[in-house]
């Protein structure tokens, strides 16, 4: 086949539309927001681009730093829990036969195709004071009390509107982001390597530790980054499941654009979030280059 990049007219025509689309919907709006981030509020609606860094400086105030710190910690905990939960799931999918594989993949993907808002409210229904979990616990408590055990009165567990609820919600939402790259990495692995390890006397845990994890490292790194980045920028989940003290960075940004009507500060926060994201992308790229050699054989 002729190399279509040789044909300048065709190449230009093929690439023009995506370039225009990318310019209008990504580059230009981002440039405007970036310009706002070095601007100042003038009156109620106008923003003057003054080239000030005051908005960025404001982001280093203790209150904002706390939100950012909380966000990073919550996203980090979420990512680690996702890894711990997703690894066995991905491993099971790898060793399932073709038919089971399809079903497991469907189960992982199903929440993906359901509206986030619906899923979050469903989670609230499960976790609230009179929700499924607490009702169930109350029932068990009642039964135990009937047997004459000194149980006291039932106190519903405070499952909602705290950091616990936020982490549960974030893990729930982001699990597929971890399962899929892990599954892709594990499925590519030559199964005879695992058999060879067993054959040489290693147990299953030793084989996971010494063979599977090192060889799946690029996939694990990809999963960590792909999970961490959207978890860090999550908006709906912490907003609905968290309490007033459990603000994450996206909610803070939303407040600047809406309630506080401080677009320049909101823009600066947005870009700080993006810089953090880019740092993690850079780490991923670095790990991939390092891990690339291991994967190739």
């Amino acid at each position: 086949m002729q190399d279509w990049r040789e044909d300048k007219t065709f190449f230009g025509a093929a690439i023009a539309l995506p370039v225009i689309w990318f310019m209008i919907f990504f580059v230009v709006p981002m440039a405007i927001v970036w310009a706002y981030s070095v601007g100042e509020n003038v009156g109620a609606v106008d923003i003057a681009i003054t080239g000030t860094f005051a908005n960025y400086a404001k982001a280093f105030s203790p209150e904002v730093l706390k939100v950012m710190g909380d966000s990073v910690v919550l996203a980090f905990i979420t990512t680690i829990i996702c890894l711990v939960v997703a690894f066995p799931v991905a491993l099971a999918m790898t060793f399932a036969d073709e038919k089971q594989k399809m079903w497991l993949l469907l189960l992982v993907m199903l929440p993906f195709w359901t509206n986030l808002l619906i899923r979050t409210y469903a989670l609230i229904a499960v976790m609230r004071t009179s929700g499924v979990i607490n009702s169930g616990l109350e029932g068990v408590h009642g039964l135990l009390a009937l047997t004459g055990l000194p149980m006291g009165t039932f106190e519903p567990l405070p499952l909602l509107y705290n950091k616990f609820a936020v982490v549960v919600g974030l893990v729930y939402v982001h699990l597929p982001f971890m399962v899929l790259p892990l599954y892709a990495a594990l499925d590519r692995l030559d199964k005879s390597l695992i058999e060879a390890s067993l054959d040489l006397g290693a147990g299953h845990l030793e084989t996971i530790r010494r063979i599977i994890v090192p060889l799946a490292a690029p996939g694990i790194a990809a999963g960590l980054v792909i999970t961490f980045i959207p978890a860090l920028g999550a908006y709906l989940t912490p907003d609905l499941l968290g309490g007033p003290d459990d603000l994450m960075i996206a909610s803070l940004i939303e407040r600047q654009f809406k309630r506080a009507n401080d677009w320049p500060f909101g823009a600066a926060l947005s870009f700080i979030l993006m810089y953090i994201t880019l740092i993690f992308f850079a780490i991923r790229a670095f790990m991939e280059r390092k891990g690339g050699k291991v994967g190739a054989h």
Partner: protein, 375 residues
């Protein structure tokens, strides 16, 4: 065979996957120190049997004993066997040394002794100079040596080899055949090799088990498989053979005669076959055991001296010639239309010129050449 000399005993082993029977009531014994080959076409169950020896598959029925111990409940990592995988399965994230040392970690070998044992195993496969290499810097043949050293360093009672030579190029394959056989001879460990390549099995193994569709067809030495096949499948799978259907006409202790419509004549055996007379059976004659003679118009059949007149001779016309250097293979159409294959060594540099296309020939063979096959 007493238990002491038997390292592997497979008793009535069957393996089913759903409705498919991969291995069907196989029973065999492998003596200690033997180079044993499992031979058969792809899908015959030989790899499944090997994987059951390694412990990666469990028999649906029957038992496997290794060195007298029932393996029914023993997982692969606790079995006294090690395997060389078809894809070699060399760990890509470890150096050659680390690959070979891997299995020793689980054997409670003192750190101080590990180095010596790894280097000795690498020396056995002539790789001691590449201990610090990573597998991606090595050729396929070298990776296979790593896999071999990695298995042998564990001093297994049995080494299992899954199609060990199939991924190598032709020249290297031939060299490795001798090397593997020599290595086995030197270290004395029982080798069990799976292969679909009959040349490989015949050249390397002390004994071969031929399998077809899950069933064991025959277990014998290479020469017995070739010269005394137990059935049509073995006769046809090992080497080339001309098979003719026929009925037993004479069955005496010292000779037998089979009448074959397919051949259009009678086949004389200079030995008894002790089969039931009249029953349908097959006669196999190897191409190199048939002699070609020029046939003149109106000449009489030159019956071989050890057969009664009219037996073990037939007439035909040469249709195809494959000149292979050391020998030539002639495809000959018999008068009744059946095709027969005859091979003839080119002993002198001019032998291939003796016969050419469309030559009229006699084909004849001695009374000890054909084999009678009941199934």
């Amino acid at each position: 065979m007493s238990d002491r000399d038997t390292i592997i005993r497979v008793e009535e082993v069957t393996k089913r996957y759903g409705k498919v029977t991969a291995v069907d009531r196989v029973t065999l014994e492998i003596p200690r120190g033997e180079f044993f080959a499992l031979l058969g076409p792809s899908g015959c169950g030989k790899t499944t049997l090997l994987r059951m020896l390694a412990g990666f598959e469990m028999p649906s029925e029957g038992k496997i004993f290794i060195d007298g111990v029932d393996m029914s409940t023993i997982p692969p990592n606790k079995r006294p066997v090690n395997m060389v995988f078809q894809s070699y399965a060399v760990f890509p994230h470890m150096t050659v040394f680390e690959n070979v040392a891997y299995g020793l970690k689980f054997d409670n070998v003192a750190k101080a002794d590990q180095y010596g044992r790894v280097m000795a195993a690498l020396a056995d496969v002539k790789l001691d100079h590449l201990a610090e290499r990573k597998p991606d810097q090595m050729s396929g043949g070298q990776r296979q040596r790593v896999a071999l050293a990695r298995a042998l360093v564990k001093k297994p009672k049995v080494l299992l080899l899954d199609e060990p030579l199939s991924a190598l190029d032709a020249k290297l394959r031939e060299a490795m055949r001798f090397e593997l056989a020599e290595l086995q001879d030197k270290i004395g460990i029982t080798f069990v090799m799976v292969t679909h390549d009959q040349d490989e099995a015949l050249a390397m193994a002390c004994r071969c088990a031929v399998m077809d569709r899950g069933k064991l067809m025959q277990t014998a030495t290479p020469s017995n498989l070739y010269e005394f096949p137990a059935n049509k499948f073995v006769a046809d799978f090992i080497g080339s053979v001309n098979l003719f259907e026929g009925t037993l006409e004479v069955d005496e202790p010292d000779h037998a005669i089979v009448q074959s419509e397919e051949l259009g004549g009678r086949i004389f055996f200079d030995h008894g076959v002790s089969g039931a007379g009249g029953e349908k059976m097959w006669v196999g004659i190897r191409p190199e055991k048939i002699e070609l003679l020029k046939r003149e118009e109106g000449s009489t059949p030159p019956t071989p001296e050890d057969a009664p007149s009219g037996c073990n001779v037939t007439a035909g016309t040469i249709r195809q010639i494959s000149y292979l250097g050391s020998e030539s293979i002639y495809e000959i159409d018999l008068i009744n239309g059946r095709r027969m294959q005859v091979s003839r060594p080119n002993l002198s540099r001019w032998d291939q010129e003796d016969f050419t296309w469309d030559d009229e020939v006699w084909l004849r063979w001695h009374g000890d050449s054909p084999v009678l096959l009941q199934s």
